[in-house]
């Protein structure tokens, strides 16, 4: 029997309120399934389960505030399941004439299906893409729980009248905003107390990159329009592969590099507050995938539906304040990360390059880095690589 405990969803979280269960006793679960909704200072987070099995018992009622680490439910592992399945298997054991193959057939049938990444029909996948629906939150009524088009239709219809526990946090009470503010205050204070920050700033000419984007966008449908932000993301991910000291966590006096780039994207909340959920494995994603990921993330941040894996495991963060009109961002690193890259507004400025003098769209980027892990020299190499990628945008399309 496995225990499902209240997870820690942030450096300074010590308790969360269980808002709703998404599973029932007896229900089979696979890795990545959303098991519950928990309210924290960062809003309502959809908590995923990483165990495979079936729910044996739910121990906590919704509405209760639970400390991190408390057991919330018991999950039965797949090989334990035959003990609880009703008579067919037991009757087969009792009957002399039953052959082993019947028993085996019964067991195979009750074993959980291996998790397929997109358990949906091609039509459903296409429709989901068109409407920007996240397949993870749609209930599938097709074979093996896969999603068919009819499921998307019901999902869209149900969104007209959302059940009460899905109310968006746009109408959050002032005390929730206050507690988010406190959480940010705690994290930022800790950052400035513990992390010896150093800052490196550089300007990059985006003329080629923006022209390249414009051409690329001509051939795309609106839903696949690329914004400059995804170029920044990809450039950061590629630079992290060159300078791994920027990508990882400082824990207990040691730097633990991350094997993949989970890029936290700082997103401000309309009612006040800031959150930086992660886009995972940025180095492996195409620009279109990054764009989709970012749009989806912003939508869910705005409606308060983030997943636990998104807010707890960023390995480096991007803060893009270009839309707010600031020239440069000298950000504060989110502990236990060790770096943050800030981008300002893309502005037309006079610019000289070798013998050429003119006006170009320039962006200022700034690295805030942890001096326990890296020095200015390595920071400079990191920044240089980002700049080179942005000046030669074809590099970003590869992979």
């Amino acid at each position: 029997m496995m225990e499902f405990k209240m997870p820690s969803l942030g450096a300074d979280m010590d308790a969360g309120t269980l808002i709703a269960w998404h599973v029932k006793p007896g229900q089979k679960v696979s890795r990545g399934d959303i098991i519950a909704e928990v309210e924290t200072d960062k809003g309502i987070i959809e908590v995923e389960i990483w165990q495979v099995g079936s729910i044996a018992q739910l121990l906590v009622e919704p509405g209760q505030k639970i400390p991190v680490g408390t057991v919330l439910a018991y999950v039965r592992a797949p090989d334990e399941m035959q003990e609880t399945e009703p008579s067919p298997a037991k009757a087969a054991i009792g009957a002399e004439s039953s052959s082993p193959s019947i028993l085996e057939g019964a067991i195979d049938h009750t074993a959980p299906q291996p998790l397929k990444i997109a358990r949906a029909s091609p039509l459903a996948k296409k429709t989901a893409e068109e409407y920007g629906i996240d397949l993870n939150v749609v209930h599938g009524s097709g074979p093996f729980g896969s999603i068919v088009k009819a499921d998307l239709d019901s999902y869209l219809a149900s969104k007209q009248n959302p059940p009460i526990h899905e109310a968006p946090i746009a109408s959050t009470a002032p005390d929730k905003i206050a507690s988010m503010r406190q959480a940010i205050a705690a994290a930022m204070s800790r950052s400035k107390r513990e992390i010896p920050h150093y800052y490196l700033q550089t300007d990059v000419n985006l003329q080629k990159a923006l022209a390249w984007l414009e051409t690329s966008n001509q051939d795309r449908p609106l839903t696949e329009r690329l914004l400059p932000a995804v170029l920044f993301m990809k450039a950061i991910a590629l630079a992290c592969q060159k300078v791994p000291e920027m990508n990882g966590h400082w824990i207990d006096g040691e730097f633990h590099p991350s094997s993949t780039v989970n890029l936290g994207v700082a997103i401000s909340l309309r009612q006040g507050g800031l959150i930086a959920p992660a886009i995972h494995e940025v180095e492996t994603k195409t620009l279109v995938e990054l764009m989709r990921g970012m749009l989806d993330l912003v939508k869910r941040v705005r409606s308060g539906k983030l997943r636990s894996s998104e807010i707890s495991d960023s390995s480096i963060t991007l803060s893009n304040l270009g839309d707010q009109g600031v020239a440069s961002v000298f950000g504060v690193i989110y502990p236990p990360q060790v770096a943050l890259v800030g981008f300002g507004k893309i502005m037309s400025r006079p610019w000289a390059e070798q013998q050429w003098l003119g006006v170009a769209p320039i962006v200022s980027l700034c690295l805030s880095a942890d001096h326990r892990v890296s020095d200015g020299h390595r920071g400079g190499i990191f920044m240089n690589h980002i700049a080179r990628c942005l000046e030669e945008p074809e590099r970003l399309q590869e992979s």
Partner: protein, 81 residues
Amino acid sequence: MEREELRKSLIKSLKKIAPDIDEEKIEDTLSLQDQLDLDSVDMLNFIVQVQNDLHRVIENKDYRRFFSLEGALAYLLTKNI
């Protein structure tokens, strides 16, 4: 669709992206981004939402028309949406 109906539909789409906006205060001629504190991602989500709500394809090259309500309405009316 008539202009008023279209305007209402646009506001509805806007509210799906930014539920807290005060629709009474929106000026048609001013930039939506500036008035409503929307960023470039919000704007893109808004235009895609309009595409879904009106069941019409909006092309990438016409993206900038939607930066104000005035611009969006002018565009949609000429396209007979």
